[in-house]
């Protein structure tokens, strides 16, 4: 249905963009946004792990520390007024900012902060592993994460890590919930999880008024927010799944912001003088996973040849216009130590040469699993035709997203078209995903991307963990540069693009921030003229 729908709409949008349309208007004090929010499965910060719920969490909860939107290698204090680390590097102490009030009227104290962080670990839902990395477990959480007094929080780690690594991780896992309120709804020792899944207990710039699953999220302004009361009174986030419909609503003035804009809509929107486009690179990469269990892909020359057989710039200007920009290393732009090296470009002769070295001068046949979404299918077809130039016969096997993913996780693919987002804005997130493989056997305990592609790399794995623990920041950067280079040369990944998120915003709306990660898309400064 989608491709037909899209082309029909695209054609009509062009004719429409020229015509003048009468404007509907959204209420002056309300920001109305069209967005795909049907991925939300829970509103409990200790469970939130999806794109749009991460954004929700960033706007309604206070965090101990957050990343600076303008420079994500910097960390800002929020609910924590200051922090310090003990000389042995194991104990972090946070002073809690005084005078922060929850929606309930309760004061935010170090007890709430300790309770909130313990919840992540004890509930053991999707984000828990981020704190587990520091030796914080279900059994020791209450002892290691403690309030020394009402304004002092202490967290004791199992050993010394790079402070930037720990703080980067905290930016995602330090939403502070109202302990008294949450515990008043506790049932069967769930620390209030069942209740908080659909309710709210925070102190952020906005409060949750109502969540209608698959329909809308309504936020109201915190009238006494310590960091400055937002100018707008309400934010209505409306689930609109079709991009074409979002565009229509925006151009008619029924919404102020359309969030899920696709490349082919940009041309029409660029011409609209009532709309401005805001773009930001996200920490999400498009890549091909090459399973080295396949004897052809096991040859380094073949992997390199495939990297030379992609028209990166051509794709960036067509299919990925406004959605992605070329990027070839495993660390996305914006993260500590990220390299922007781009050694590969379409070079059919070089690829043929490499294939010849591998003894495959007549090419070979291979399969590729992709999700059946339009954009992925079109990408796969483009790759199919450019690989054919060097005699590589690609068979595309499209299926539902979860189906291909199930296959990928069991490493039963040859080639997989993957989209990978960093779990937190520290280089270790992607380094661990792409460049560690503790145990390459079929029943390994951890199965990162390197395992899924059967890439056995004991030495590189050690190097990644050493980089994680390096206390000296400049040395840490140098180590990540080296890791990126090694993956770039030999890794079983063809990294293609870094995702760009483009929001189409009405000209009369200022201050909306599209950040480098989904928990940095912020509404606090929004004003409507």
């Amino acid at each position: 249905m989608k491709p037909m729908l899209k082309s029909a709409v695209a054609a009509l949008m062009l004719t429409l963009a020229a015509g003048t349309v009468a404007q509907a208007a959204t209420p002056k004090d309300t920001l109305v946004m069209a967005y795909v929010i049907d991925d939300i499965i829970s509103l409990d910060p200790a469970e939130i792990y999806e794109i749009s719920s991460s954004e929700y969490q960033a706007n309604v909860y206070d965090h101990l520390v957050v990343l600076n939107v303008k420079d994500t290698t910097q960390i800002l204090n929020r609910a924590a007024e200051s922090w310090s680390v003990s000389p042995d590097g194991k104990t972090f102490t946070f002073k809690i900012r005084p005078g922060i009030k929850f929606q309930s009227g309760n004061e935010l104290t170090a007890n709430d902060a300790a309770f909130s962080l313990q919840r992540y670990v004890i509930l053991d839902k999707s984000p828990a592993f981020i704190l587990n990395q520091f030796g914080l477990t279900k059994d020791n959480a209450k002892e290691k994460i403690r309030a020394k007094d009402a304004s002092t929080l202490e967290i004791e780690l199992d050993k010394a890590y790079a402070p930037s690594f720990f703080l980067n991780c905290l930016t995602y896992t330090s939403s502070i919930v109202d302990q008294k309120l949450v515990m008043s709804h506790e049932q069967n020792g769930d620390l209030g999880n069942a209740w908080l899944k659909t309710n709210y207990a925070g102190s952020g710039p906005f409060f949750l008024k109502e969540w209608k699953p698959n329909e809308s999220l309504l936020l109201t302004t915190n009238p006494t927010y310590w960091g400055g009361v937002p100018k707008i009174k309400r934010v209505l986030i409306r689930n609109v799944t079709e991009s074409a419909t979002q565009q229509l609503l925006l151009q008619k003035g029924d919404v102020d912001i359309a969030r899920n804009i696709t490349g082919d809509q940009l041309t029409a929107l660029e011409k609209d003088k009532d709309v401005k486009l805001q773009a930001a690179s996200k920490a999400t990469l498009w890549y091909l996973g090459l399973n080295v269990k396949n004897p052809d892909l096991a040859k380094p020359e073949v992997r390199k040849a495939l990297k030379y057989l992609i028209d990166y710039d051509g794709l960036a200007n067509t299919l990925f216009k406004g959605v992605g920009k070329p990027h070839q290393t495993i660390l996305p732009e914006g993260q500590l130590g990220a390299s922007d090296a781009m050694p590969y470009k379409l070079d059919v002769e070089k690829a043929k040469e490499l294939l010849k070295q591998a003894g495959l001068e007549n090419g070979f046949s291979i399969t590729m699993d992709t999700t059946n979404k339009t954009e992925t299918m079109e990408l796969a077809q483009a790759i199919q035709s450019s690989w054919a130039k060097a005699g590589v016969k690609l068979e595309i096997k499209p299926a539902d997203n979860k189906q291909t993913l199930t296959k990928y996780r069991a490493r039963q693919h040859d080639i997989y078209v993957g989209v990978w987002g960093s779990d937190y804005q520290d280089p270790h997130s992607n380094a661990e995903g792409f460049a560690t493989n503790m145990d390459n056997s079929d029943n390994a305990k951890t199965k990162p991307l390197a395992w899924r592609n059967s890439w056995d790399i004991p030495d590189l794995t050690k190097e990644v963990y050493a980089a994680r623990d390096e206390m000296d920041s400049s040395k840490r950067v140098a180590m990540y540069q080296d890791i990126q280079q090694k993956v770039l040369d030999n890794g079983p990944y063809v990294i293609l693009f870094q995702q760009i998120e483009t929001a189409a915003v009405k000209k009369n709306v200022d201050g909306f921030i599209v950040g480098p990660s989904f928990d940095l898309d912020l509404y606090h400064d929004v004003v409507k003229h």
């Binding site: 249905m1 037909m4 729908l5 029909a8 709409v9 009509l12 429409l16 015509g19 349309v21 009468a22 509907a24 959204t26 209420p27 309300t30 109305v32 049907d38 499965i41 829970s42 509103l43 792990y49 999806e50 053991d124 999707s126 828990a128 592993f129 899944k197 659909t198 008024k209 109502e210 209608k212 699953p213 698959n214 329909e215 809308s216 309504l218 209505l236 409306r238 689930n239 609109v240 799944t241 079709e242 074409a244 419909t245 229509l248 609503l249 151009q251 008619k252 029924d254 919404v255 539902d400 979860k402 189906q403 993913l405 199930t406 296959k407 996780r409 779990d423 305990k445 951890t446 199965k447």
Partner: protein, 333 residues
């Protein structure tokens, strides 16, 4: 007495069969529902624990038995996707579909029946061709295309009607759901501006669905009517000098009303399943969209719940039709 026992048994077998088939389909799909919950990055222990919590490590029959015993207690389970009970999810989306389907079917009847009669009376003349062409068009054009064209024309270009949604987005939080049917809820609220807004929002999607149902109803009316007009009693009536209007609406209509009712009920029931495409285009949060989205997220509890509700609606409507038959047609009593 015997008859009603037979009916009850057949209802139970139908619903049970429906559940078993949906359940098995959900479980044999080569898709991992655990992934839908924990996400792609989840570590192995979390994955294993969630799988256990979801009961997916038990034998299939046992999983089904657990589900069934909950259903019998009126508990349709929790949706994985929305973290809400499936029953309350369905209670909030079904009225939207009911409203749209009812309005659509009314439009289909009001225009479809007269159009079918008109075509039958003018068989093979231009009137007939026109009705048949419009019917064929309504039947063969994809409904989402009609919906988008409708939006572009009446909303974007002419500005006669409001855009997608059941109310202007800015108004949405002003209405407390009572019945869940927006036109009725706004009326209850007493705010005429809101009622007008809800009604205007209903016109376009209802007309599009109505056109679809009109296409079917007019075609069936035409052929039923043609069948009657060839009968001898019509000839007799004509010979006796009865006016043409009386012949059609009094004599012939009386004889086609039972099969016509079946046609209308079938068309209504199919709209009640929820028209996914119309609901998507018009951002109309109905049952069709709910079940489809749940299916994409491998939220089988929600899919099963939705299927069960549709099954019940079908059975209920069929029973209602049976009763109406008996009223309309003495031979069926």
């Amino acid at each position: 007495m015997k008859a009603s026992i037979r009916v009850i048994i057949s209802v139970i077998t139908t619903l049970l069969g429906l559940l078993i088939i949906t359940f098995v389909i959900g479980r044999v799909l080569p898709v991992d529902p655990v992934l839908a919950v924990v996400g792609d990055h989840a570590p192995a222990e979390l994955y294993a624990r969630t799988r256990h919590e979801m009961g997916l490590d038990r034998p299939l029959w046992e999983q089904f038995w657990i589900y069934l015993s909950h259903v019998l207690r009126g508990d349709l389970g929790m949706s994985l996707r929305t973290s809400h009970p499936v029953l309350s999810d369905i209670a909030s989306v079904f009225p939207a579909t009911l409203e749209l389907a009812t309005a659509g079917t009314l439009i289909g009847i009001i225009f479809g029946v007269p159009a079918g009669v008109w075509a039958a009376v003018h068989q093979d003349r231009w009137q007939d061709h026109l009705v048949r062409f419009l019917g064929l068009f309504g039947y063969s054009v994809p409904i989402f295309w009609l919906g988008l064209m409708g939006l572009l024309l009446f909303y974007a270009e002419l500005d006669w009607l409001p855009g997608p949604g059941r109310l202007d987005f800015g108004y949405e939080d002003m209405i407390e759901p009572v019945t869940g049917i927006m036109t009725i809820d706004t009326l209850i609220s007493g705010d005429m501006e809101l009622f007008k807004n809800a009604l205007m929002h209903l016109i376009l999607p209802a007309s599009i669905l109505g056109y679809y149902s009109l296409a079917y109803i007019s075609r069936m009316t035409r052929s039923l009517m043609l069948g009657q007009l060839r009968q001898e009693y019509i000839l007799t009536a004509r010979v006796k000098g009865v006016s043409e209007r009386l012949i059609i609406w009094r004599h012939a209509m009386r004889n086609i009303r039972v099969p016509l009712l079946t046609v209308i009920v079938l068309s209504y029931a199919s709209l009640l399943e929820g028209s996914v495409l119309t609901e998507t285009v018009f951002v109309w949060n109905g049952l069709g969209l709910y079940i489809t989205n749940s299916l994409f997220s491998v939220d089988m509890t929600a899919v099963l719940g939705g299927t069960l509700v549709i099954g019940c609606v079908f059975i209920f409507i069929n029973m209602l039709t049976d009763i109406t038959y008996r009223v309309l047609d003495p031979r069926a009593r």
